[in-house]
């Protein structure tokens, strides 16, 4: 993904996590505030989510959607599959996944931000989805057993993690052999200077 141009960042991971959690708590609780990235239905449309898919989701989950890709571009998930959503945010993708895998499938939605976890859980309850479990955790240390998942989805999260190698290794641990990732993120085509890599304010605005 953005590994080569971004390279190694000398940021304090705990400080970065707090900064990002604060930012995304605002996206969860006050999505109309306006952020440096797009959110909500206009973003979903830009990323190619069908309107009828978005229409089935609770408005509150749609309003707080933030992402950089569309994990379902490579096809719907199959009924009965086990899914982990890494950095589920407001639950936009987790709720879509839960409908696709159905009552015989499961979705574990992981996020470090309490406000986002609450929003995802509220959305699942509102839709009557009993196959969504929301867990607190980090992308580098997922609260999921080895080899549990058929598929991992994620959207705009890996770029917020300074140790991307650790994130991908953790995804491998959680996947079954033959399992897959379908993740949206960003590509950075130009070299990022070290001072920018080390500027926490630039990581999520």
């Amino acid at each position: 993904m953005s590994a080569n141009p971004v390279g190694v960042a000398r940021v304090d991971r705990a400080v970065l996590r707090r900064f990002i959690a604060d930012k995304y708590a605002e996206v969860a609780t006050n999505p109309e505030l306006g952020f440096h990235f797009h959110t909500g239905r206009p973003l979903a449309q830009m990323l190619g989510y069908p309107g009828e898919v978005v229409d089935r989701l609770p408005a509150a989950n749609v309003r707080s959607f933030a992402g950089t890709g569309n994990p379902f571009l490579f096809g719907d998930l199959a009924p009965g599959e086990r899914v982990v959503d890494v950095g589920c945010g407001a639950g936009f993708d987790a709720l879509i996944a839960a409908q696709q895998v159905g009552s015989n499938g499961r979705v574990v939605a992981v996020d470090m931000t309490a406000e986002m976890r609450s929003k995802t859980a509220d959305g699942a309850r509102g839709m009557g989805l009993t196959n969504v479990e929301v867990r607190e955790g980090f992308a580098e240390s997922l609260p999921v057993d080895d080899g549990w998942a058929d598929v991992i989805i994620s959207n705009g999260v890996v770029n917020l993690c300074p140790d991307k190698r650790a994130v991908f290794k953790e995804m491998l641990r959680v996947l079954k052999p033959g399992g897959r990732i379908q993740i949206g993120d960003i590509l950075v085509h130009k070299e990022v200077p070290q001072d920018a890599k080390d500027d926490i304010a630039l990581w999520s605005g």
């Binding site: 990235f37 950089t68 991307k164 990732i181 590509l187």
Partner: protein, 45 residues
């Protein structure tokens, strides 16, 4: 590519999307030519 280095295979990338166009982050994104993308990859059996 880091995904390959960590052990993933069958890597496929979608078309890139200018996801920051029109956002407050547009100038920073343009400076580093930053685009949104979706990636598929598989854990080998």
């Amino acid at each position: 590519m880091l995904l390959e280095q960590t052990g993933f295979a069958d890597i496929v990338m979608s078309n890139e999307v200018d996801v920051f166009s029109g956002s407050k982050h547009e100038s920073d994104a343009k400076e580093f030519d930053t685009r949104g993308v979706t990636v598929f990859a598989r854990k080998p059996r």
